[in-house]
């Protein structure tokens, strides 16, 4: 077994793994992601109908959706939605809330400083770093070339 060709073996082993169900995943992601967006649209329309302007309504919608994602995580439901919905559950803002609340809950036993606070961003951290980082770069480029 020592001198076998690793590359051949890896290709052979890949064929042993069942293929991901891409079409089913895509349909479920569309339905779950679309479901979250539809809920958000209802909230937005409700806030608009109460006379709030676009900015306030958008902000209120985001706040509600973050609350919903956090609540469903706390109730132990969001991991099940995520399993079915895949990217449809991960991409909306509810998924972002899940990625922060889940580690916060998980690491509570290690205390509020080294547990909750330190571990809260282990999943969302990269999104924040590169999200905020790229927005700063785009901002600088805008000032340089538009101004």
């Amino acid at each position: 077994m020592q001198n076998f060709n690793k590359k051949d073996y890896q290709e052979y082993a890949m064929r042993k793994v069942p293929k991901p169900t891409y079409l089913k995943n895509a349909i479920l992601a569309f339905l779950v992601g679309g479901g979250f967006c539809t809920i958000a649209q209802f909230i937005y329309n409700f806030l608009s109908s109460r006379g709030f302007n676009d900015e306030i309504s958008s902000m209120g919608t985001s706040i509600f959706m973050i609350f919903l994602g956090s609540l469903l995580t706390g109730l132990g439901v969001y991991d099940k939605i995520g399993k079915v919905g895949g990217a449809g559950a991960a991409v909306p803002i509810t998924g972002f809330a899940n990625s922060i609340v889940a580690p916060a809950m998980e690491f509570k036993r290690e205390g509020f400083i080294f547990g909750v606070a330190a571990k809260m961003f282990i999943i969302a951290g990269p999104v924040l770093v590169y999200g905020i980082g790229s927005s700063v770069i785009v901002g600088i480029l805008t000032i340089l070339f538009k101004g």
């Binding site: 890896q10 042993k16 809950m105 998980e106």
Partner: protein, 342 residues
């Protein structure tokens, strides 16, 4: 010249130690699986009254050892050595269980191969005359493994089809220089084999070549054929790894398709339990061995079993640094009869 080593890497125990007692504890999910009737204790709650999953795992391992020793009508003072390990960093489940048990303790890390690593070393201690009675134990816990190796429990991630489900459970085996069997007669410790796979969600494919290497060496060293065994069972290769082992063993001239299976394949029902490629973890082979295999041996269904736990010796840190997964498999022959006496 070693007196008891035969061939490349196999040990023949001239005065085979006997398994005088064994015990298995599993979590609720394992207790719902196809082997549920074989386990000694099925927990209703995988925290088992503890504050954290790590503490629960420690308790599960400690209780498995206590119950196994009780089952042999011995007290903890009668045990010379405890050999145990687990998956947690610094094998804390074992170390903290040993703190309560107060038996001289060897901590082992063989990842999921720990059950046969501890049986191998324990058998050698007893056979070599260094101990009369030893306990070999190991444990794993789904929730403590998830948070160490993967994601927080409530995080909504999808698992790949090659991913396996860490078994919550612990098994303990008491070996003695006296007893009426089953006996440990041969030991084939494995070499590290690394096929270069970096995907930690495909352990079966990573570990299969190590299992094949140990099997081939075992057959060459002992002169046995697969048909000399009623059962050849690996630890946690899962559905993917099992299929690879059967295929590649055939290429090497050994047909094991009839009497070979894997603990990870047997412990869960993949259709109803959503476990993808099967069970994994130290506890997987430990509870299947101390539950299913030994109980079926005593019933007379299996007379000679080759039990081979498999381990992936990586960590998340070195895996993130781009290293592949080095794997190992240790095999022990369990005989209902002591052939030296016969």
């Amino acid at each position: 010249m070693p007196l008891k080593k035969i061939g490349n890497q196999t040990i023949k125990l001239l005065n085979p130690p006997s398994i005088i007692s064994h015990y298995s504890i599993v979590g609720p999910k394992e207790g719902d699986g196809p082997l549920k009737d074989y386990f000694d204790l099925i927990l209703e709650d995988d925290l088992w009254g503890e504050e954290s999953f790590e503490k629960a795992e420690r308790k599960i391992q400690e209780q498995a050892v206590r119950a196994a020793v009780d089952g042999a009508q011995l007290s903890l003072q009668d045990i010379d050595f405890l050999l145990a390990g687990d998956l947690l960093n610094q094998i804390v489940a074992s170390g903290y269980a040993a703190r309560e048990l107060a038996i001289p303790f060897f901590g082992l890390y063989g990842a999921c191969s720990t059950m046969t690593e501890s049986l191998s070393l324990g058998a050698m201690l007893v056979e070599g005359g260094f101990a009369d009675r030893v306990v070999c134990a190991t444990s794993s816990h789904f929730s403590s493994a998830e948070r160490q190796f993967r994601f927080p429990l409530e995080y909504g991630a999808q698992r790949s089809f090659s991913a396996q489900w860490t078994v919550t459970g612990a098994g303990a085996t008491v070996l003695s220089s006296y007893g009426s069997g089953p006996y440990i007669t041969y030991i084939t410790p494995g070499r590290i084999i690394d096929p270069g796979i970096t995907d930690a969600a495909n352990m079966g494919a990573s570990m299969a070549p190590a299992a094949i290497d140990t099997l081939v060496n075992h057959f060459q060293d002992t002169g046995f054929q697969p048909s000399d065994y009623d059962l050849i069972i690996s630890g946690d290769l899962g559905i993917v790894g099992k299929s690879i082992v059967i295929d590649l063993m055939k290429e090497k001239g050994y047909d094991i398709s009839k009497n070979y299976t894997d603990c990870g394949v047997e412990i869960f029902n993949p259709n109803t339990q959503d476990t993808h490629a099967g069970g994994s973890g130290c506890g997987c082979s430990a509870v299947v061995f101390n539950g299913y295999i030994l109980k079926e041996m005593k019933k007379g269904r299996f007379k000679r079993v080759l039990f081979m736990a498999t381990g992936a010796l990586h960590s998340t840190t070195i895996n993130q640094q781009g290293e592949s997964i080095p794997s190992i498999a240790h095999a022990v022959t369990i005989d209902i009869n002591n052939e030296q006496v016969m």
